[in-house]
């Protein structure tokens, strides 16, 4: 029963790690290839991959540890059989002595014709035959005993070899479990560093003409007049919505989102309205709504100060997505009980 349960648990652990691995590997197979072009969206993608990797390495560690425990348990199943030291006394001398005495007695009375004496002779002969049977049988006893000792010794040696292999397996599995745990941590670090690297990417070069150098403190008049974002305005301006298929988010999960961004004479204005899925038991406000305005900055990420309809202050970042019709939205507001304070998601252009 216990063995069956163990096998079942092990099979379940094996399946869990297998599925977790597939999920991880299928999450974002192009992540590394897209690392140079995905920009800030890579963060969310790397986070997702990291979460799946963590699940896999956790499940893998459990599986390996279960196998190690199972190997140790199985090794203990092959227990030693301790046999008693030889408890058969050596009766050879006694039996030999008895044979001699009985033989001499029989010889002494052999020729006496008395009926009673002849009965005694017959009794002595029966006794001698019993002693002879014991003498012959003692060899069989000894032989049987030696066979037990020999076969038990062979079985003991085979058992030790078996236990040794089980121990090797258990040790290897424990080492792998430990290495897997370390590997899991290293993968988490990798995804973090990948995300950081992607976020820290400098703005792409849009022109091969070197920028004119100006004297210190002197700002070129064109820049004062109108900031031009590092990427085309069309990557920000327009009506955006949260996709119903293939949605990507990090943190609070949006249920629906509408974003409108307008540009007029270098001034940006817009409105964001979003409804989020709240965790079970949370009775807070699932709706966030705010207007924003400002100017475009000379960088891919456009940041605006916002005040929500609930009065919370915060910032909104608009980051061009991995495709021309995608826009990453990142907002955070100051703490205000019962409201969604931060979110990160991709919108698609209407």
């Amino acid at each position: 029963m216990r063995r069956a349960l163990g096998v079942l648990l092990l099979a379940s652990a094996a399946l869990a790690q297998k599925e977790a691995r597939q999920n991880w590997r299928n999450t974002d197979p192009d992540l590394e290839r897209a690392a140079a072009t995905a920009g800030a969206t890579l963060g969310a993608r790397a986070d997702k991959a990291a979460a799946e990797a963590a699940k896999y390495f956790g499940a893998r560690k459990i599986y390996l540890e279960s196998l190690a425990a199972d190997a140790t348990r199985r090794a203990s199943t092959v227990g030693a059989l301790n046999l008693a030291p030889d408890t058969v006394p050596n009766m050879e001398a006694y039996l030999s002595g008895q044979t001699t005495i009985l033989g001499a007695s029989i010889e002494t009375i052999a020729r006496t014709p008395d009926r009673g004496i002849q009965q005694l002779r017959q009794a002595l002969e029966r006794e001698r035959a019993a002693v002879a049977a014991l003498t012959a049988g003692s060899k069989d006893v000894q032989k049987a005993r030696e066979a037990v000792v020999q076969t038990a010794s062979n079985a003991g040696q085979a058992r030790m070899r078996t236990v040794e292999v089980y121990q090797k397996l258990a040790t290897s599995l424990k080492q792998s479990a430990q290495l897997t745990e370390q590997s899991g941590t290293a993968w988490a670090g990798y995804y973090r560093s990948l995300s950081d690297a992607a976020r820290s990417v400098a703005r792409p070069v849009t022109s091969s003409v070197p920028e004119p150098k100006s004297p210190a403190g002197v700002v070129p008049p064109a820049v004062v007049a109108r900031n031009i974002p590092a990427v085309p305005l069309s990557r920000y301006v327009g009506a955006w919505t949260y996709p119903t298929v293939g949605a990507r988010f990090h943190g609070a999960q949006p249920l629906s989102t509408e974003l409108v961004v307008r540009e007029e004479n270098g001034r940006v204005s817009g409105m964001l309205s979003a409804r989020f899925k709240l965790p079970p038991g949370n009775t807070g406000d699932p709706v966030v709504r705010f207007d924003f305005e400002g100017t475009f900055q000379n960088s891919p990420t456009q940041t605006f100060a916002v005040t929500t309809n609930g009065g919370a202050k915060g910032t909104l970042e608009l980051i061009p997505g991995p495709a021309f019709n995608l826009l990453e939205v990142n907002f955070s507001t100051d703490e205000k009980a019962g409201t969604v304070r931060q979110a990160n998601f991709l919108l698609v252009k209407k």
Binding site: A14, E32, A36, E127, V141, V148, N154, A155, V165, A197
Partner: protein, 258 residues
Amino acid sequence: MVPAVRRRLPWFAIAACFAAVGTLCAQDTGAKSLSALQDAAAKRTAEWNTLTIGLELRLARLLPCDPRVRTAVDEVGRAADTRTVALTSYWNMVSIQSKAQVEAIRGLLTLEQQRAEDWANDKTETEQEVAATSGQAAALKTSLQQVPALANPQKSLESLAETNQMLAGQARERETNGGLLVDELRDLLKASQARQSAIDEQLKSVSAEGQRWSAYYAARQARAQIECVIINPAAATAPPAARPAPPAVRPLPPGTKP
């Protein structure tokens, strides 16, 4: 001829004892009970050995019709029976434990044969991980040419690829050891079965030896009775009530080889 057969433990009592041992074993086949049976067998053997070696010396000091002659032979015979029961109980327990081990080993062999596939799959998966990580590293290397900031993740990935190689090596080793384990378990099963056969033979040997000693004591008691009758013929009219010798072993006719 007067059948001079000593009193002995009834053989059904021995059989009952075997049954009791079987029940006991079903409840507790632990080393503790085996150890207790082992101690009991050693003690009974020592007691019987002392009585047997000293028997003729004791009888030599008694007159043929002294009732203590019969008592002395009976006492040694009972000690021999008690020893046989103790030894049989011990070897029965050994046999039960040995059989349980044979079954456990057989079960393990089946499980390990099934697991061979798991070791192979695990090895394949770890090798796939090595390939996947290498693929990631190659992809990232391409991106690295455009984004130098990816140098650190690239290093991390190279280090992870090395770790994966180690994990794959360990999985390969486990696959080899899994195969070796099946071979070792086959050897162990064979050796344990041989041991089981030897234990069964030992049990038969203990039983046969007990019967031979019973036959000997019966013959010794018969001789003592005849010695008494020669001295005092009236003693032949009052033979003691006694059970016959066990059917498996009867005193052999004179001149017959055992």
